[in-house]
């Protein structure tokens, strides 16, 4: 277990920097985590993060990569509905890196 400090407030994370309490998340925390991942949050990043959070709220898990690309493609245009686009935004893999910034639990298993 570890803690991160954002604007004088302390948030509990696991060893890899994923938030323990999902309700702790806010946009400042997201920006902070993104910085530790060397990601400069742009509007395009936020579009993905917001979708992840909406999906999680409904299904209690992050979407499959294919579900994510399709949803982003539908919402933002087919040129963005590709895994290349998502890897461009989140080089360590849209699944894990974007989940971390979105304050969602890490997908486990053979992924």
């Amino acid at each position: 277990m570890a803690n991160i400090e954002v604007d004088g407030k302390s948030y509990e994370t696991d060893e890899e920097g994923y938030l323990i309490n999902l309700t702790d998340w806010n946009s400042d925390v997201a920006n902070y985590i993104a910085k530790t991942e060397n990601i400069d949050m742009s509007e395009q990043h936020w579009e993905v993060i917001n979708f992840l959070r909406e999906y999680f709220e409904e299904y209690q898990i992050a979407p499959a990569v294919r579900v994510l690309t399709k949803a982003i493609g539908k919402k933002l245009g087919p040129e963005k509905g590709t895994s290349e686009y998502l890897y461009g935004l989140f080089p360590y893999g849209p699944g894990k890196q974007a989940c971390k910034i979105a304050g969602l639990p890490k997908p486990t298993g053979c992924v």
């Binding site: 890899e16 990569v65 294919r66 399709k70 699944g95 894990k96 486990t108 992924v111």
Partner: protein, 510 residues
């Protein structure tokens, strides 16, 4: 993590120079109390860990005759030393299979042999100290239980069993690994390693039906929890979630569609993987296997087919019979195993691998392909360790090597073999098997991939290979991550049924 780089390819693949201590460290993240207690293990390292660990070792020695033989039989001939991908990639002498085993063997000698009790120094016997325990935790999480070294051992010592025993002792005293134990908790609680709840699974499958319809114009179904279906498909949950895994799932569905097979997935048993094997714990192994029996009985299926998952196929092929009654051999007093035996249709192999299912359909002439659809690929095949060395397919020796290759050659025009030193029973692990597929072990994963990357690079240079097919979810995830570090595109790896999916011609059989 971004500073992890690929080791250089060896000019001639000789035994590398030793780098003692190269992979010393604390090992992967240790499972916390919540994770451990959820699956019945002590939450954290118990106070009397020394006595408990020795007692557990004694228990395993009496329970598993094989473990005792492996402790006694090694003559340190050295045949295994350079056969391990982790040793080749890290050059750490403690990753020589013989040396890794000796971390446990030295303790065995001290507590369970007369010379070791009397003259420990003379026979290389060691007390189980905290340092030794930490060394176990570190180095037994640098073995993927792939059993390549065992192929070369003149005594047939199964190194994987030694690793499993060490991990089981560690778990029994509350010193287990986070990645594996967290996943085992999820499979019990939610039904799969990913923690994918039923509604999310349904949503994903509906999306796939739409996608395939859009691509092909045909209504290929992805049924789930359908009572009375003929086939229950048990596949790794990564097939529902990750790339490129999901493309093989589409391939299985197309094969079932084209052969007119009634089939179903199960939310309860939405996972083929069984990490109980990785941690060497029989109770977990069995409990995870029993979910599949429960789903099969509830749905009334006649056949059980297993998707592209390496260790799952080893568990299914080698252990499901006695664990759960899928296949002959369950205890006669195990009522539910006997019930399942009566229910399953024994004209078919139980369980059946999806490659066996597809190859059988091909041989019957039930499937047609447009091979040119795979012409952009020059394909090679990576044998997954647990399929290659822990199972079989078909009804002849080596079927597990031939059947996937036969399928590839049926659905594609360009197929090239990698060096025979690195395929079939001598295949190298992808580097992420056995419970090592976690970000906190990325360094060992990258280094352990070296021998496979060398062989792949060779066929890339000589034949332009741009696609490496495999039939294991771990291999697919591991290569997706490490290929770019070795300068390849991550999409070079994919499934055998991904290729099937590309080429299959679907006639609407409605």
């Amino acid at each position: 993590m971004s500073d992890i780089t690929a080791p250089a390819y060896r000019v001639i693949p000789i035994i590398p120079a030793l780098k003692p201590g190269a992979m010393e460290g604390k090992g992967p993240f240790v499972a916390n109390e919540k994770i451990n207690e959820a699956i019945g293990f002590p939450g954290k390292l118990v106070d009397d860990w020394h006595d408990k660990a020795i007692a557990k070792m004694g228990e395993l020695l009496s329970k598993y005759r094989s473990f005792k033989v492996y402790m006694d039989a090694c003559v340190h001939c050295g045949a295994c030393t350079d056969k391990c991908h982790y040793f080749i990639g890290t050059q750490d002498p403690k990753n020589m299979p013989v040396a890794r085993q000796d971390l446990v063997r030295s303790v065995y000698r001290r507590y369970f042999t007369l010379p070791g009790k009397l003259f420990p120094k003379l026979v290389g016997a060691r007390d189980l100290t905290r340092e030794v325990l930490d060394e176990w935790y570190n180095y037994f999480n640098q073995c993927s239980e792939c059993r390549r070294c065992s192929v070369f051992c003149p005594y047939g010592i199964d190194t994987a069993e030694v690793t499993m025993a060490a991990r089981e002792i560690l778990d029994s005293i509350g010193y287990g690994q986070k990645y594996s134990n967290e996943i085992i908790g999820k499979v019990h609680k939610i039904g799969n390693n990913l923690g994918l709840p039923g509604p999310a699974l349904l949503d994903t499958l509906e999306g796939l039906e739409e996608d395939v319809k859009e691509d092909t114009g045909i209504d290929v179904k992805f049924p789930i929890d359908v009572k009375g279906a003929e086939v229950l498909l048990i596949t790794p949950s990564a097939d529902f979630f990750a790339e490129p895994h999901i493309d093989s799932l589409i391939g299985y569905a197309k094969v079932f569609h084209a052969t007119g097979t009634s089939w179903t997935l199960s939310t309860m048993a939405s996972e083929a993987g069984n990490f109980g094997m990785f941690i060497g714990n029989y109770e977990q192994l069995r409990k995870i296997a029993l979910r599949i029996r429960e789903a099969a009985l509830e749905l009334g299926v006649k056949r059980i087919v297993v998707g592209e998952c390496g260790h799952a196929w080893r568990v299914a092929y080698s252990f499901w019979n006695t664990l759960s009654g899928v296949g002959d051999g369950a205890s006669e007093v195990d009522r539910f195993a006997q019930m399942l035996q009566k229910q399953l249709d024994h004209r078919y192999k139980q369980p059946t691998h999806i490659c066996e299912f597809t190859w059988d359909a091909i041989e019957r002439g039930a499937l047609t392909f447009d091979k040119s659809k795979n012409d952009k690929h020059i394909i090679t095949f990576h044998d997954s360790c647990n399929v290659a060395r822990g199972s079989r397919m078909g009804d002849y020796a080596g079927g597990q090597f031939e059947i996937p290759r036969n399928i590839i050659k049926t659905v594609a025009n360009n197929f090239v073999e990698m060096s025979p030193e690195t395929t079939r029973e001598r295949t190298f692990c992808c580097g992420g098997g056995g419970g090592l597929l976690t970000d906190d072990l990325l360094e060992i994963r990258v280094k352990g991939a070296l021998p496979r990357m060398e062989a792949l690079n060779q066929v890339k240079e000589e034949h332009g290979v741009n696609f490496m097919a495999t039939i294991c979810a771990i291999c697919k995830a591991q290569f997706t991550k490490v290929l770019p570090i070795y300068g390849f595109d991550r999409r070079v790896v994919g499934g055998v049924h991904q290729l099937v999916s590309n080429a299959i011609i679907l006639g609407d059989k409605k």
